[in-house]
């Protein structure tokens, strides 16, 4: 490919900025990983940002012993996966009804769903608490999965609308002429073409529920259903001035996601791209 109108100086400049931003993006993680293996003496004094001189693995055993980290992680994972599945199914179906079926009020229905983007999640905590208690879901993972799905729905529909709106309408008509029913069109024509939206919606939903602290803290009582953010928060409350174990706890919460991401990043990016190509 030709590179037009770009001097060497400018290219170097661009690279410098790109690399600088990469360093800024990665530094906190690097710092977290290194100080999770240091003693306080190193963190606070002679060796603030370098690699640990003495690798203090006991920080990790201490962090792991003050709670059930693997369990919290598993709970967070179950919540995230279930939320993504529910959000996707509900969002794709609703988007189909809004964008491809002709009926009065579909525009209004879309705006109605977009209202979801505007609602601060924390405002509904007490009414939700009451409802969840009444239907006996409090202190189960459903108490998180259902609200998280509902709060991710608006974004899901928004993204799906983008993807679905760009599938040519001829396809529906052709399918209809072939004798497909509404459901047939949905399952055979539209749903398969929505695969790319999965990544985008999936990532968004994942982020939304992976990080959430307030609901997770209020709706869950039992230790066995606690999620990662709650675990990390209480852990860092316990070692306020002993940074090593805090670093270890933060790392434990982060490393599995990072590993997953390192292996999947190409795939995640590709589906983003593929999605946008269709879009």
């Amino acid at each position: 490919m030709k590179k037009l109108g770009e001097s060497k100086g400018k290219r170097v400049f661009v690279y410098v900025i790109l690399i600088l931003w990469a360093l800024i993006s990665i530094f906190p993680v690097y710092w977290m990983l290194t100080f999770s293996l240091k003693t306080n003496a190193e963190i606070f004094g002679e060796n603030v940002a370098g690699l640990p001189r003495e690798w203090v693995w006991s920080n990790y055993t201490r962090a792991l012993n003050t709670g059930d980290m693997p369990r919290y992680f598993l709970n967070s994972l179950i919540v995230a996966v279930s939320t993504i599945v529910i959000t996707l199914v509900a969002a794709v179906m609703a988007t189909y009804a809004i964008t491809r079926l002709r009926w009065k009020g579909r525009k209004r229905m879309n705006s109605f769903f977009m209202l979801g983007l505007t609602i601060p999640i924390h405002a509904s905590i007490v009414p939700l608490y009451t409802t969840l208690a009444k239907i006996k879901l409090l202190d189960t993972l459903w108490a998180l999965i259902i609200p998280y799905s509902a709060f991710s729905l608006a974004m899901g529909i928004l993204v799906c609308t983008g993807f679905m709106g760009d599938i040519p309408y001829d396809l529906d008509e052709a399918a209809m002429l072939d004798g497909c029913s509404t459901w047939g069109i949905f399952f055979r024509v539209i749903a398969p073409l929505m695969k790319p939206a999965v990544a985008t919606v999936g990532i968004y939903t994942f982020l939304q529920c992976w990080n959430e602290l307030m609901f997770a803290n209020v709706f869950i009582n039992s230790d066995k259903w606690r999620t990662l953010p709650v675990g990390v928060q209480s852990l860092s409350g316990q070692y306020t001035t002993d940074w090593g174990p805090i670093g270890a706890a933060l790392s434990i919460a982060t490393i599995p996601t990072l590993i997953f991401y390192i292996f999947m990043s190409k795939k995640i990016q590709d589906s983003f791209v593929a999605g946008a190509v269709k879009g």
């Binding site: 603030v48 209202l115 609602i119 405002a123 509904s124 409802t131």
Partner: protein, 292 residues
Amino acid sequence: MKKPLQYKINIFLFLLPALALFVTVLIAPIIMSFYYSLTEWNGFTTPEFIGFKNYVELFTSKSINISRALKNAFLLALLSCIIQLPFALWLALRLARPIKGRTALLSIYFMPVLISTVVIGQLWLKIYNPDYGVLNVLLRSIGLEKWTHIWLGDKKYALGAAFVPILWQYVGYHMLLMYAGIKGVPPELTEAAMIDGCTPSQVNRYIIIPYIRPILRVCVIFAITGSLKSFDLIYVLTNGGPSHATEVPSTLMISMLFLRNRYGMGSTIAVMLIVLCFFFALLINAVFKEEK
């Protein structure tokens, strides 16, 4: 044209899962919140109906000082739009062109997004620590002792210090969305423009950016409503302090609900936020349509 009944039932069935979730989890609590916002209620006893008194108090009370919280939230939204989004767009445009190490850079830029807010908050608390935090240590080591501050504890710097991690964390998110959009621009379009003698920046300006408008719209909506609703990181970093310097509507709302037991007033702030976010979402949509 009259639609057969079956068609209507189908529409309803397609909407059912989303509607059920949406109405029970979002709409019903909002309606309840709106009702509570018209009451004086501590959360425990019977709510006492007081009309719009909470709204009047919210906008006139000096001690609640909603205007400061709103100003902070708007400032964050503004910074998102003039720093975070353009920078993300620049990164995306750059990375969409042939460049060495693209995959690695994309992955690295996106990484902060994947880290839990609690973790990010704890990390930045440590970065800002006045005595041992990396920032002050760095400033001291390069002889800029007088630039060191008690970042999160100083009224003058706390707001900026709290905003930096928020803006930092989501650059990668917007970048990836925009990058995906740019990759979706048909190569014929850009190639034709290049052949016509357009410079890369002209291609960006006249071909790519107009093409990815829908994604830009999503990014803008997300950045603005996200800023207005911002809560988690500020809660972990400063919880609205020092002396309310970093108060945003959400932190005010939480303190009304759970510290002051003023459920009615907390709900009033919630309603105000919803109205505000909805207004901006509509506004952004209108602006993007207009330009089309």
